[in-house]
Amino acid sequence: MSNSMKSNMVSNQDKSSPIFHILMHLLIGILFGAGLAISEMANPNAVLSFLDVSAIFTQDSSFSKNASWNPDLIFVMVSAISVGVLAYAIKNKMTKPKFTSIWRLPSKLALDKPLIFGAILFGIGWGLAGYCPGPALTALVNNPMEGVYFLSSMLIGSFAFQAISTMRKT
């Protein structure tokens, strides 16, 4: 156990240079960010006009140019999840990740209160401004003022949760 823990850094069996891993991580981020940009999920108005579901019936969304409802987030989710399902099917045929020695997937199973309340809160904040954490990052380039306001307060919110839960434990 402790042995596998120690060997988990990218990676002792792997001979690739750190530069290679830096570039791979950069590439993963670039693909992800390009996905947010191309699908327009990087634009809060595209997200809000999806969440504004009454526009399906009334065709009067204040978030889109032509006032119609934007179904695109469904396409984004379904296609991303389809590739994701493929990824886990391939994973199940592998004994370990290519460059590290163990899988590090979340192990929690309980449907507990923090999960539910956290998701409710996240949904409220997402619906208020149209930013979830990924698009909030890309806003730093595409809409810098909004990105700075949102992202800095997001860090404070996260820190506040950490501080409160540490206080309650001690």
């Binding site: 120690k6 850094m9 830096i22 791979m24 950069l26 993963i28 981020g29 693909l31 992800f32 960010g33 390009a34 940009a37 191309i38 990087a42 108005n45 504004d52 579901v53 140019k65 987030l73 469904i74 984004v76 379904v78 296609s79 991303a80 999840i81 590739v83 994701g84 990824a87 391939i90 994973k91 990740p97 460059f99 590090r104 997937l105 199973l109 309980a110 923090p114 998701a119 409710i120 809160l121 996240f122 949904g123 409220i124 904040g125 997402w126 619906g127 208020l128 401004a129 954490p133 990924g134 909030a136 990052l137 890309t138 380039v141 949102f150 860090l155 404070i156 919110g157 996260s158 950490q162």
Partner: protein, 145 residues
């Protein structure tokens, strides 16, 4: 109707990024988790190289800057929204994603892909919560638009 839906192309790219991160490094591509681990050392587990995590975030910025390059945007970027709205929303998103251990990418894409019941419940919950929020703010009170 666009010839090829840009949502599908974007979704495939997002899924492919998650596929690479999983199969190469054995991890879940969740942005709130990456930000928290980079900023706060949330994870005390060994083998978390913050520098690599930060590279994913920087890559996301680079990729995100392609907005409007490959497709003509169908939506106008919001430009004169109240800073107060953004600050309140940011605080709630930061607090909520930390409490619920994930956001749209971690729960919504990666978690659902691996069939995690926690992620399926979380995603349904934040979707409904966001839809109600937009209804209340933009339809009942007409703020944030």
């Amino acid at each position: 109707m666009k010839f090829i839906n840009s949502g599908v192309i974007g979704g495939v790219l997002i899924g492919f990024a998650a596929l690479l991160y999983l199969l190469l490094y054995g991890r879940v591509l969740g942005v709130s988790g990456l930000i928290n681990q980079t900023a706060f050392n949330k994870s005390k587990e060994q083998g978390t190289n913050k520098f690599y995590l930060a590279m994913i975030l920087i890559g996301t910025l680079i990729g995100g800057s392609s907005y409007g390059v490959f497709f003509e945007p169908q939506f106008v970027m919001p430009n004169d929204r109240s800073p107060l709205l953004l600050i309140i929303a940011g605080l709630i998103v930061g607090f909520g994603t930390r409490m619920g251990n994930g956001c749209t990418s971690g729960h919504g894409v990666c978690g659902i892909s691996r069939g995690s019941s926690r992620s399926i419940v979380a995603t349904m919950t934040f979707m409904v919560s966001a839809i109600i929020t937009v209804y209340v703010t933009s339809r009942l009170f007409q703020i944030g638009a």
